[in-house]
Symmetry: C2
Amino acid sequence: MADLLKHLDRISAPDVSAGVDAQRWLDQLTKPPGSLGRLEELARRLAEITGRCPPAVEHPVIFTLAGDHGVVEEGVSAYPQVVTAQMVENFIRGGAAVNVLARHAGARVVVADFGVAARLAEDVSLKAMKIAPGTRNMTRGPAMTRAQAQAAVEAGIELVEAERPRGLDLIGMGEMGIGNTTAASAMVAVFTGAPVGDVTGQGTGVDEEGRRRKVAAIERALLVNRPDASDALDVLAKVGGFEIAGLAGVALAGAAYRLPVVVDGFIAGAAALAAVRLAPAARHVLLASHRSAEPGHRHALEALGLEPYLDLGMRLGEGTGAALCIDLARAAVKILTEMATFKSAGVSTAGPGVTDA
Amino acid sequence: MADLLKHLDRISAPDVSAGVDAQRWLDQLTKPPGSLGRLEELARRLAEITGRCPPAVEHPVIFTLAGDHGVVEEGVSAYPQVVTAQMVENFIRGGAAVNVLARHAGARVVVADFGVAARLAEDVSLKAMKIAPGTRNMTRGPAMTRAQAQAAVEAGIELVEAERPRGLDLIGMGEMGIGNTTAASAMVAVFTGAPVGDVTGQGTGVDEEGRRRKVAAIERALLVNRPDASDALDVLAKVGGFEIAGLAGVALAGAAYRLPVVVDGFIAGAAALAAVRLAPAARHVLLASHRSAEPGHRHALEALGLEPYLDLGMRLGEGTGAALCIDLARAAVKILTEMATFKSAGVSTAGPGVTDA
C-alpha cells in the first residue's frame, strides 16, 4: 500500500490561473464571447488540468485494458467469454472500433491484458500485465483478493508511467471484458447507493430476461460480499474487475502527472468513480467523453459531478467515446492556437455605443 | 422561376436500399449491433442520401455565405455592421473559428459575398455573388424584392454547381451577417407559427433590453410585411436575408445532386426550413449538426424533423457546428470502411446458446 499511498499524495489541485489565462485568450478571439460554448470550456479545462496555456494534445493515448469476469457463469452476457481474447487480438491488428476512431482522432491505442482468461500470444503491441486469468464469480465470493485489486491499480499507474517518456499528454480510458457491465453496475450501485435495478442495463445486448439475471447476480454478489462503500479497494476487490481496477490506476496516474483523463463510458465511469473514492482530488483531471446508453452511467456521472460532451447513444466501450472526445479536445486546443484575435484581424468588438449600429 | 422550378424537379426520394446495405454491413462489424448509436445512424443516412455504400466524405465543403441586414438600424446586434465585412476578410485569411474547425475536419471553406454592405476587395478566395449591398430595414417594408430572393436562391445553387467538378461530396452550411439572427427569428416565427418572443434570443450577445428590441422589430416587420407562410420565397424576400436565401439554394442543390447537407445552427436552420418549404423532398438530405443555444433553433429543428448530433451550447454560426459534424461524419464513414467483421477477425458472435457462456 505504501507505493500507492505515495502516489496518491502527488495529486494536487487544478491550476486555476492557467484556466483564467485560457478564458482571457478565448475572449480576445474573433467570435462573440462564449459563443463556442462547451468547446471553450473544454479548452479552459485542458489548461487548468495541465497548468499550461495553451495546453497541448499532441500525443494522446487510449489505454484499453482487458480482463475477464467469473460472473459470466451466471449468464449475464450475450457473448461467450472467449470474445474478450478475440477482441484483444482484433485491437492488436487494428480492426476494432476503438482503433478506427483513435486513428481518426490521432491517438495511439495501448492494449493491455490485465486479466484475460485465455493465454494470449505474446505480441510487441500487447502489454502483458495479467493479474490472474479472469476474476472469480462474485456471486460466490470476492472477485479477487484485496492484494490483487491493489496490484491491478498499481499496474495501471505503471502502464501510464511507461508511456510518459514518449510524450504522453492526454489519457483516454478504454476497456474490454465480457461481463464487465455486470461488475460496473455492482460498483456503481455500491458507490452511489442507487438500486441495482436502476444501474443495470442490457450491456452488449442481453434481452430483458438476461437483464433480470444480471440484476439477480449483482444482488447476490452484494449480499455475499458486503463491499464497504467507503473503501474503494474493497469494492474493486469484491465486485470489480482487473481491467476496471487497472483503469482506476490509469486515472490516478493522470491525476498525479497533471494529464487530462478522458473517461469513456459506463465501465470507465465506474473505474473513475473508484479512483475518485481513493483520491478525491483526482476528480479535477477527469473529462466525461459521452453519455452512454447504459442506465447506470447517469448515476456514475452524477457522482463524479461530470457533464459529458457527447450524447450519441453509444454503448460499446473499448475507448470509443474517449476517442471521439479526444478529437473534440484537439479541436478545442486549435481554437486557442489557430484563431485570429480581434486585434490581429482588425475586427471591431462589441460594446456600449455600437449596439445601435 | 423556370430554372428554379426545373431544379426543384430534380429532387428525389432517399435511396432506402443503400441505407439497408449500410445497416447490414454495420451489423457484421466487430461490435454489438447498434452499439455505436447515432454514429451508425449517421453512416446509414450518408449511404441513403448518396445512394452509395460505403458513402465517401473525401471532399466536404462548408459554404459560408455573408450578407448584411438593414434591420441593424433598429439596434438588434451587439456588433456594428462593419463586422460582417471584417469577418469575411478574416475567413479569407483563415483566422476565423470556421476556418480552424474546417481544417480540423478536413473540409474546405468557400466564402461568398451574397450581400455585404461594404465593397469588398476582390480576392481569388471570395466568390462575388452580391445581390445588393445589404437588405433593406424589414421593419419599414420588405427586406428585398421577390426577384432578389429568387436570384439569391439561384446563386446558392450555382455556387454548389461550381464546386462539383472538384469532387464535392458533402455540403456544410455556414453564414455570417450582423443582424441575421433577427431575420432568422422572423422566418422561423412565420414558418412554425411560434410566438416571436419564443424564437428570439440574444444573438451575438445583446442584453435583455436588446433582445426586447429584437422582438419588437420582428413583430413590426411581420405586421408591416405580412409574409405568407405558405410561400417560402415571399418569406425570404420580406424578412430574410441574401445569405439566408443563398443558403436555401445551397441546400436545394445538395438535394438535387444527392449530396448530404450538414445544417449549421440557427440561421442555417432557418435557411433549411425555407428550402424544405420550397421543396419538401429536400428534407431527406439534411443532417442537423448541433443544437444551438439560440432558443429559436429548437423550433426550426422540430419543424425540420431533425435531431442534432451535437449539443455543445454553441451559438457562433459561420459553419462551426457543421465543421464538427463533418468530422463526425468522416468518423462514421471510417467505421464502415475500416472496421473488421466478426468473420474477418475470427470473433464469435452473440446468439442463442451462447448467452450462458
